[in-house]
Amino acid sequence: MAFSLEDILLKLSEEGRRTIAAHTKIPYKPGKPLPFEKLIARVTNPVTLAELMRTLSPEEHGILSDWMLRTREEFTFPPLTSHSTALKLAGKLGVRGLMYQVQSSHGWLYTIPSEVSSPLLLALLQHHESPATMIAERRTPRPVDTAPLWWPLAHNLFMIVSHARRESLPLSQQGFVYKRVINKLILKSWEHSTSGEALDLVIYFARRVGLLGYQNNSFRELGADIRNAHAFWQSSAKDLLKMVESTLVLHSNPTFQNLLWTMLGHLEPDQWLDLDALSRWATEEHVIAYSSYTRDYVINEAAALGLVELDKGLCRYTDTAYWGRRGLFEAVTTESIVIQPTGEVLVPPSAPYADRWKVDALATPVKWDRMVVYQIDRKSVEAAIDRGISIEDYLEAWKGLSRKGIPANVETNIRDWYRALTRHRILRATVIHSQDQTESAKLEQILTKAGEYQMRLSPQDLIISEAHLATIRKTLERAGIPIPQSIDTPGTVDEDDDMFDDDDMFDDDDMFDEVNHFLSEPIEVRPPQVVLHAVLPGVPLIPILDRYTIQNIVRESITNRYPLTVYYVVHPDDKIVTHVDLVSANIKEGSLIGIDIHQRAFSVPLQHVRSAIRRELS
């Protein structure tokens, strides 16, 4: 794996910092890491690098060429012989912050960090005047001078995560997303024509950056990962492009890809790279692991991702990649979303990714295109209610996103749907039904004393925690009130049928046939793995959308009987969160209720809960 300068600087020795700081004239405070941004700008300065190239001997040039083009592919090199020219060259590069010695599982290695390798390679090539031989004569002006925010890969990535938020991406036995599902995604992809292979790459990327999780033989946008997703979509377009480059383009054969990427980045806006000339040069220079197959594979993959454009043996960055790598993206327009009186929500290409993600949680997508169209309808309101979003928060969120506010009729519809959908809820509960109310009162008395009482449903019915059923039986048995082992489940349907109804994966008959074989095998249910980044006391509050996560975690906890730690605020405006460890919990009438580890009853409105994490069973 390639080493990152950012990581290296954090672990650099005091002496190393001092030496580099002195040589590069970077202000340095003893005991502190070197400032990454300043250092990277200083050491990759083209003028400084060109000057360095002039000072190197022909032998050193040969060695550097070997390192950059013909040795191991991750710019890491084995220990160098003492007093050798190579060691001297390493020293020259080292004091300039271009090369480092690092300890890995293979022992000590020399490395050129990933952020530095491309500028250094370009300086080397320019010194030998190589780029000129690879640039085609043809020039084609670019029609625009900024990169669009909403470009094919951003569109496809967002669309796939949005899809997975609502419907899982089931996997075949070979571990691929079913072709049928890929075909569905193609219809929603950029210009409805992205190839299945390119979408597979995007799914891979979404997995790598934590936007998709694996659950029950499928990929889906897990509730517990919503926080990750929320943080991810705060990224700028430039950050996204960088992540895509490092994850998808520069991942498997960095020597050639680095060469290609360096050369494409060197082109003027209207220039093209001559791929045949590049091939000839790479062959003559014996670039490691280079072959025409590698070239075609790398280039076609980059083209499928919308990063390069090809034309008769010529290649160059697309507008997005060219201007985007220079940080020249079109300006983000906040509050640019338009809600039409028909309930349609239009999300323009210049909308921030974070706003898109919020809209995606609040409405139903209906059209994926340059202007993405959502619909506020009963279904989207129902989904918001399921996520624990209150009517006030729902409307407030739209007001914060919309350029023109919410049309009055749409707001009335939202309020009516909320009113209609929140009047009744279907709850699953474990109930002790007694023959008469005197018997039931007796149970209540005993269970209250034992700390196992939850709430009364009717004069003859008590709701108890299913997690504590065994303890309750024991307590009552001791009190001389035996209860039969069997549990009546009036009104429930056959479990298999239920499974089909609940699982949106089986949304059509064909799909059901295809995945039917999974159902005969036990399905492993894993609780969501929550990484608690932002819920420590004192840190800013988590956005409202995370209530969905919270509800999911609580529900998982109820189903699997895991204890919970719940983070909440006492007053809605509080900035400091408090926590409580619960041994049982439930959600009822908009509140999270439960019993804490000291057997005390606990209740807090769901709106006050900021996060929850399951505890391991001891």
């Binding site: 029609p143 625009v144 001078d145 900024t146 669009p148 950029w190 210009e191 409805h192 024509s193 079109e330 338009v338 039409q340 009186p341 028909t342 239009l346 323009p348 290409p349 059209k367 295109d369 340059r370 202007m371 350029r403 023109k404 049309p407 009055a408 009729n409 009335t412 519809n413 009516d416 209609a420």
Partner: protein, 567 residues
């Protein structure tokens, strides 16, 4: 960077931002090769269709020009799919031509691409209407002209019809400057534009909002073409209105205008009939159609073309040698036969957003309001237990609506109110409660016309009407409509009913359209769908609630919207 107003989508829709300074210029650039789909207040939607591009090519706009116009106003690169579609469809029009046969025996389908002619001749829907081979093409029987054009358009290779039209018997008439009642008359600019656009092609549909004077466009076309004309209408009442307008606005006299109805059978230079009569069948023949078809008409006008019944489609296929004008406010066919209107009557030639005309004062401004009335407990029980097919009716006939109607009538006691409903029993209940006259399909014609006239004169301030008054009835003074039930989710019906009150008011006042629905029922869901077309035209619905007695429940009181303030 300059912020341009247009976003071209890869599904061939074009979104135009109204607030952008370049909006008007871009809109003008799009007219001619796109179709306006909807025009709500912030972003208008246009669409590229095969038809819009064929029309544009026919009008001399090249595909490259269309693409350049898109590029000029697009904020982002024009999708490849859009450019390709324009080029592909643009090259299709005119490759096949329909001409008079060289030997004057029928027509001749020809073209300069023998491969295409062969390809077309093997198309399943074209084969039945193709005659024997003729030099570089095929002979076409006159009765197959319309069907061939329909089949070719569906196959994606529209024929350029160069065979011309039957001129019809000439008719001398002029438009009057002053109507018979002494008021000045002139065609408004947009009406004149519509007349000219139609006359340039000789067939097609003019789409204008209710109250915008479609009849005047029809009369303008008759005057411009100066030929014998057959006018098809939806009802005898509408027929009489046409007759009245022609007499009022042209130099034609009563002797020039014929009524061909169940009661009277007159054939005159301008003859008015109904769709119902035209499609009347006796055995295998259509006697009235045959009689009318035997006349030498140069022009046929289809009023409310969105209502054209299926038999008339078939009959129309044989009328291709005559100029054909369709008039409608809503080119929406809930039966999905809009394509047939294109093939047999012609493409949409002229269209104007409703709000544009409202801004110019040619139609009244209107407030649309939906009132959601609760069902009482017993009605809720009835609704819950009714069969699916009956539930909509239970909701529609919610007795609580009567209370709301009374509230509204109290508020609008000085207005001219139409109460429009679907179910006779419900309308009769309303009549019993408020003691206003009721007009239905069962009302004799003379009585109907008397009621309409009394309403126009102001003698009757409130008129209860069934769906017979959905279309074609000119009641200029009506300024309030209360819709108490309707045909499921019909967008077209909603728009037509609003149209009853859109004629500009003599006092410049605005119109108010109420739709009363039962809350939390299927009827409320249908109302959402019904309102779609009007919302897309830029109308907004205010929504209020009433309890199971029909009394307002919102605070501040919004029924009868006395607290409403114009923003």
């Amino acid at each position: 960077m300059e912020h341009r107003p247009l976003i071209a989508q890869s599904d061939l829709s074009l979104l135009l931002e109204v607030d952008n300074p370049g909006f008007e210029e871009a809109r003008q650039a799009l007219v001619g090769f796109t179709e306006l789909v909807k025009s709500p207040e912030h972003i208008h939607t246009y669409r590229l269709t095969a038809l819009s591009i064929w029309n544009a090519v026919a009008a001399g706009i090249t595909p490259d020009d269309m693409i350049n116009r898109l590029r000029r106003y697009s904020q982002y690169a024009v999708p490849e799919t859009a450019s390709y579609f324009i080029q592909d469809q643009g090259r299709r029009f005119g490759r096949l031509q329909l001409k008079k046969a060289p030997d004057s025996d029928g027509f001749w389908l020809t073209g300069d691409d023998p491969t295409l002619l062969t390809q077309i001749s093997r198309h399943r829907s074209v084969i039945p209407v193709l005659g024997p081979p003729l030099d570089n093409g095929f002979r076409i029987r006159p009765e197959h002209r319309g069907l061939l054009k329909q089949a070719l358009a569906k196959a994606g290779w529209p024929a350029q019809d160069l065979a011309g039209y039957q001129p019809g018997r000439p008719l001398n008439l002029e438009l009057r400057d002053v109507g018979l009642n002494g008021t000045n008359f002139f065609l408004r600019d947009y009406q004149r534009d519509a007349v000219n656009v139609f006359s340039a092609s000789g067939n097609g549909v003019v789409v204008l909002p209710c109250g915008a004077g479609k009849t005047m466009v029809g009369i303008g076309v008759v005057a411009k073409e100066s030929t014998w004309t057959l006018i098809l209408t939806t009802s005898v009442a509408a027929l009489h209105q046409w007759r009245h307008e022609i007499l009022d606005k042209t130099t034609l006299g009563p002797e020039d205008i014929g009524e061909y109805s169940a009661r009277i059978k007159e054939l005159r230079p301008v003859t008015l009939t109904t769709y119902q009569l035209l499609s009347h069948r006796k055995g295998d023949t259509y006697p009235h159609f045959d009689t009318l078809n035997a006349q030498d008409w140069g022009l046929i006008i289809y009023d409310e073309v969105h209502l054209l019944p299926a038999p008339v489609f078939r009959l129309t296929a044989s009328l291709q040698s005559r100029k054909r004008l369709g008039l409608t406010a809503t080119l929406l066919r809930e039966d999905g036969r809009a394509d047939d209107v294109f093939s047999l009557i012609g493409p949409k030639r002229f269209d104007l957003p409703w709000k544009d005309l409202e801004e110019q004062g040619w139609i009244a401004s209107a407030q649309c309001r939906e009132i959601r009335v609760a069902l009482s407990d017993s009605e809720r029980d009835r609704y819950a237990l009714a069969e699916d097919a009956d539930r909509i009716r239970v909701a529609a006939e919610n007795p609580a609506k009567l209370g709301t109607i009374e509230e509204l009538l109290q508020e609008h006691r000085n207005d001219h109110v139409l109460i429009i409903g679907q179910y006779l029993s419900q309308l009769q209940s309303v009549q019993e409660r408020i003691q206003a006259p009721l007009l239905t399909g069962q009302t004799p014609l003379a009585e109907r016309e008397r009621l309409y006239q009394d309403f126009r004169d102001g003698t009757i301030p409130v008129l209860i009407v069934s769906k017979v008054a959905n279309f074609s009835i000119d009641l200029p003074e009506a300024n309030v409509a209360i819709q108490i039930s309707g045909t499921f989710g019909s967008r077209q019906e909603e728009a037509q009913r609003l149209g009853r009150i859109l004629r500009p008011k003599s006092d410049g006042g605005q119109a108010t359209f109420y739709s009363i629905v039962s809350a939390e029922t299927k009827e409320q869901d249908f109302a959402q769908k019904r309102q779609l077309f009007l919302c897309e035209q830029g109308y907004r619905y205010d929504i209020a609630h009433a309890d199971a007695t029909g009394a307002p429940t919102d605070a501040p009181q919004v029924i009868p919207f006395s607290s409403y303030k114009e923003v």
